[in-house]
């Protein structure tokens, strides 16, 4: 009864479910791209973000929509908990000889991979809008961007799974996710620079893990180091620490996972 085999079985099952659910797959990718095209072009003339030399808002938004893709994806992936409960599949999973931790790990891994692939697809499609600089070199820059995206999805996936295993209804889950994740997204530097915000908002931005993902993506792909950034070392330190804490706390408090939703 190998937990790795069980994790991989759940992982491939969730992956297959997303691939078969085309509307979810396409909307997760195209919604952020619509933001990029419409919001980017619409606001470009009115803003000149100090982080980018050209002051081009469309280019500025790229890191933000990559993060946004991950936010949407983690929410959709974790909502599969409710589909599994409603279809009855969760009963089958919970009657297998594996702990709830193994079951959630399998589902989390699938969510991380799906979210990362979708985010990287968005980054690839958005690349014509961006003047990539690859300040660390192309290959290290790409690897750094991938690592940042994967870590971001680990954090969001862990957070979403922790909520999903405690909230009874899918409607409640989406409400809580929106309440928790939209402020994080807004004050991450994804849509506007955070350095000129009021102090309390700037503090929020500094304790927001998404800010470090945005920072790492910008530094890896198309910005150059300056005092306006946290720095790539600090970015990864924070992302790794938050991921570890979320999973450690999330997986030690799993018993709320029930098939009946009661």
């Amino acid at each position: 009864m190998n937990p790795v085999t069980a994790t991989l079985a759940l992982f491939s099952r969730d992956l297959r479910a997303v691939i078969r659910s085309r509307s979810q797959l396409y909307s997760s990718i195209f919604t952020p791209l619509l933001f990029l095209v419409f919001l980017g072009n619409g606001v470009s003339k009115g803003l000149s973000p100090s982080k980018l030399p050209a002051g081009d808002f469309t280019a500025y938004l790229v890191a933000g929509v990559v993060v946004m893709t991950s936010v949407f994806s983690s929410t959709f992936s974790s909502a599969s908990y409710y589909r599994d409960r409603d279809s009855g599949l969760l009963r089958m999973l919970l009657s297998s000889p594996h702990s709830a931790g193994v079951l959630l790990l399998g589902k989390s891994l699938a969510g991380v991979l799906i979210g990362s692939i979708q985010a990287l697809i968005v980054l690839a499609i958005a690349s014509p809008f961006v003047d990539f600089r690859w300040q660390y070199g192309i290959i290290p820059g790409i690897l750094t961007a991938i690592a940042a995206v994967v870590l971001l999805n680990v954090i969001l996936g862990g957070l979403a799974q922790a909520f999903a295993s405690r909230i009874q209804t899918m409607q409640g889950f989406h409400l809580v996710m929106n309440l928790a994740l939209f402020p994080l997204l807004f004050f991450s530097g994804a849509f506007f620079p955070v350095e000129n915000l009021p102090v309390w908002l700037e503090v929020l931005a500094h304790v927001n893990p998404l800010s470090y993902a945005v920072d790492a993506l910008e530094l890896a792909a198309y910005a150059e180091n300056s005092s306006a950034f946290f720095g790539i070392g600090l970015d990864f330190l924070v992302l790794i620490a938050v991921a570890v804490v979320i999973y450690a706390v999330g997986f030690t408090r799993l018993p709320k996972l029930t098939w009946s939703g009661k």
């Binding site: 009864m1 190998n2 085999t5 069980a6 991989l8 079985a9 759940l10 099952r13 297959r16 479910a17 078969r20 659910s21 589909r83 599994d84 279809s87 009855g88 599949l89 969760l90 009963r91 089958m92 999973l93 919970l94 009657s95 297998s96 000889p97 594996h98 702990s99 098939w259």
Partner: protein
């Protein structure tokens, strides 16, 4: 001389409360190895709660429960296969994928999943539908897939929670044939149901449950012993307690129970009993049917009517 096998399930004084209500209230039961054991009781009597505990999906809050001589744990689940009251299937997965996922979770190799999966799909008449998604199956086929899934890892204990609910008679027959022709005696089966005819046909042992307690247990033959040969089902809405007491006192009347408007009386000779009955009822009887006494009569004798019914307008 060989010693008798220890019971597969041993429950003692289990209490499980849901707020004010007690789902199980001093539940005590012993299930012998190799038996097909029926848990019979009305909806809400505690059958599913007990099955969930035996499946190690919820520990008993008080009392004790031993399955194969040990407290149910996650690892013990490898020895049990469970068919839940509702299907446990993903509508986006095919029949084959459903079995493969379950097989992997129970640690079977790919080759074993293929071999055992094909064997079970053939036994349950699903080979032709292996590549269809479960959403494309009929209700009966989904229940048969549930059974194939529960048997895939060859469990020692099969837990069936109302496995044929919503299944038409032909499908039901095929379901039990596929299970019992292959499986009887090779493993222990715990069947939770409120279908008394089904239990009478398939179970070696049964326990009647009411309000979270075992009222009585034994083989269907034991429980029917003492009943008379024939069973009268008398629709008599206005029967008073005094009239019922008078009937119960007749030496010809055996077990007598009331289920709503229907009185169930077991008798040896219905042709002699019915004219006397009409004389007592003074025209209040709407219909009488005569059947051979069954487990259902034993059930109503021990468990009583399904729902408590207030008696209105009856004077003593």
């Amino acid at each position: 001389m060989t010693s008798p096998k220890p019971p597969v399930i041993e429950a003692r004084d289990i209490v499980r409360s849901y707020g004010e209500r007690r789902g199980l209230d001093g539940f005590t039961l012993s299930v012998p190895a190799g038996s097909v054991f029926g848990l019979l009781g009305p909806n809400g009597s505690g059958k599913s709660t007990f099955v969930t505990m035996v499946a190690a999906m919820e520990p008993p809050p008080s009392g004790s429960l031993l399955v194969f001589g040990q407290a149910p744990t996650t690892s013990l689940r490898r020895r049990t296969g469970t068919v839940f009251q509702e299907n446990a299937q993903d509508p986006l997965m095919t029949v084959e994928e459903t079995l493969a996922l379950s097989g992997k979770l129970f640690g079977l190799s790919r080759a074993r999943i293929r071999e055992r999966g094909s064997e079970l799909l053939a036994a349950f008449g699903l080979s032709e539908r292996a590549h269809d998604t479960t959403a494309m199956l009929s209700g009966g086929m989904r229940r048969r897939l549930e059974m194939a899934r529960a048997l895939l890892h060859d469990p020692d204990l099969l837990l069936l929670d109302e496995p044929t609910t919503g299944v038409d008679p032909d499908e039901r027959k095929a379901f039990w044939q596929a299970l019992l022709e292959r499986e009887r005696g090779s493993r222990t089966v715990l069947l939770a149901t409120n279908d008394l005819t089904e239990a009478d046909n398939v179970c070696d042992q049964v326990a009647f449950i009411r309000d979270g307690r075992v009222v009585t247990a034994g083989s269907p033959a034991d429980l029917k012993r003492g009943l008379k040969r024939e069973s009268l089902h008398v629709t008599w809405p206005d029967a008073t307690e005094a009239q019922i007491s008078e009937l119960a006192a007749w030496p010809e009347a055996g077990a007598l129970s009331r289920d709503g408007d229907v009185l169930r009386i077991t008798v040896d000779d219905a042709s002699a009993f019915v004219p006397r009955l009409f004389a007592v009822a003074h025209g209040g009887i709407r219909s009488v049917s005569i059947e051979t006494a069954s487990l259902e009569d034993a059930y109503f004798l021990h468990v009583g009517q399904r729902e408590p019914r207030p008696v209105i307008g009856v004077s003593s």
